[in-house]
């Protein structure tokens, strides 16, 4: 994977983030460097409370890095570079499903006709036709998270950032949402950077899996996943899959060992 000469969508160089509070300074990210090719699907795993979400938020521009650089080579300045999907759907409860998805376009002040067309297309893409007028409290967890993904995709961002998007769903819904995500990713190729704490989910979805240590987080592993696409459930039992899981598991166990606070 690393050998194929693709266009780079995201480049992170020596990224450092620390938070300063009354107790002093807390170093969260320690000189993290990696780059992601255009249209690649990359997952980040690491111990909880590590710095995975912080890394994602820094890339999304919600957190100012203390040091280092985040670059988007080949992405036009005026275009939405990143779109972030959170662990919770975070929908606006007073807006219908349709109006939640159209929100980014309204903020972007697109013409009404365009908003209508793009929104309807997104609703179709995530398979929620017929629920346009439903309010968030009427949706199941999986449906709400699909709306959140659609709200993110409707801006047509260059890079899709997913912060444990299926963390609050039950195991079965979670697997179905993974399949769904791959289908969507297939239909509109995007660069995806996704944080998860599930090793098997990471292997099943990603081209590459990055492993972070606990705080201050360093990047200790960059594992290419050599499974063919499209991915199927049967691949979960291939030796390549199990081998990758073994490697990641060993690496994570190492990092969570003595120094980590759980």
């Amino acid at each position: 994977m690393t050998l194929s000469p693709g266009e780079i969508a995201l480049e992170v160089n020596d990224l450092e983030v620390s938070f300063v509070d009354s107790d002093g300074s807390l170093e969260v990210l320690d000189k993290i460097s990696f780059s992601i090719e255009k249209n690649a699907f990359v997952c980040i795993v690491g111990p909880s409370g590590g710095g995975k979400s912080t890394l994602l938020r820094a890339v999304a521009g919600l957190i100012q890095p203390t040091g280092g650089k985040i670059l988007f080579p080949g992405v036009a300045e005026d275009k939405a570079q990143t779109g972030l999907v959170f662990q919770k759907p975070n929908l606006l409860p007073w807006r219908t499903l349709r109006d939640n998805i159209s929100l980014p376009l309204e903020i972007d002040q697109r013409p009404e006709a365009e908003i209508s067309v793009l929104t309807q297309e997104m609703i179709r893409l995530v398979g929620l036709e017929g629920f346009e007028k439903a309010y968030p409290h009427e949706l199941s967890g999986g449906m709400a998270q699909r709306v959140a993904i659609a709200r993110c995709l409707v801006q047509d961002p260059e890079i899709l950032l997913l912060d444990e998007p299926f963390g609050q769903l039950d195991a079965l819904t979670r697997e179905r949402m993974g399949d769904e995500l791959l289908r969507i990713w297939n239909e509109r190729r995007k660069t995806v950077l996704m944080v998860t704490h599930s090793i098997s989910e990471a292997i099943f979805l990603a081209d590459r899996v990055l492993v972070l240590t606990c705080r201050p987080a360093r990047l200790i592993m960059d594992l290419p996943i050599e499974l063919p696409r499209p991915r199927t459930d049967a691949m979960r039992y291939l030796p390549e899959f199990t081998e990758a899981a073994r490697l990641l598991h060993a690496q994570l166990k190492d990092t969570t060992a003595p120094a980590c606070q759980l």
Binding site: A60, G61, L62, A80, T82, G83, L84, F86, K88, N90, L92, P93, W94, R95, L103, P104, E106, I107, Y135, H137, E138, Q155
Partner: protein, 270 residues
Amino acid sequence: MKETPSSTIKTDFWQRLSRNRMLLTLLSVLLFLLIWQVLVLALNLPGFILPSPAEVGRKFLDVLRTGLLWRHFSATLGEILLGLLFGVSAATLLGYALSKSPLAERLLSPFLVGSQSIPMAAIAPLLVIWFGPGLLSKVLICSLTVFFPVLVNTLVGLRDVPPELREVMESLRASPAQTLRYLEIPAALPVFLGGLRVGASLSVIGAIVGELVASDRGLGFLINVGRGQYDTALVFVAVICLVILAASLYGFVLLLENRVLSWQTWRKEV
């Protein structure tokens, strides 16, 4: 055996009655008026102590016909509406500003809390001394009464906007004005309207207190006139008009709440 049908009819009647709320309310009002009338007749009370409902009704039609009632009613209504306009605008603007500056909020909050515990009746005379017995002092008193509940609720409503939704707006690169429009206003609206509901009913009290202190028009003035002339029926008419005014304002805000917050219907269902 004989009792069964009659008792079913009885329970049927009461069940139907208890379900018809309009009818029940009407009945209770009629009953109240009846007791009132009987009391006046039985105790032979003079009109200046307790006028009978019939006397009050006659008085009402009388002042309605001469246009006296409307003149004073509209004066009070005008004071209240102007007071609401100024008070609510000032409170909303200051509330928004304070929600954006925790330092300013901390500096001002002792004054805000302190001033809320000043009874309006106690400073109404001061405002009349400073701003004269005309419209201005009444509008100011009304403004001040609605100011605090609306300010506090604006502040609380804005402060309680979920931070994760703020993060969503930030990740969508929304400007502060857009965050206000798409997130802060709709999110704070339920709490804000709660404050407005309280403020609107209080503003009626504010206007009357101002008019009772010094004025030449308004329902409070009418009460003063009625009292001075031992025309107790006139006082009753003015008080009933005030009740109607306050209840309509309250109802209007309630209507607005139901309309604007229709997405919250699930709260009532649960």
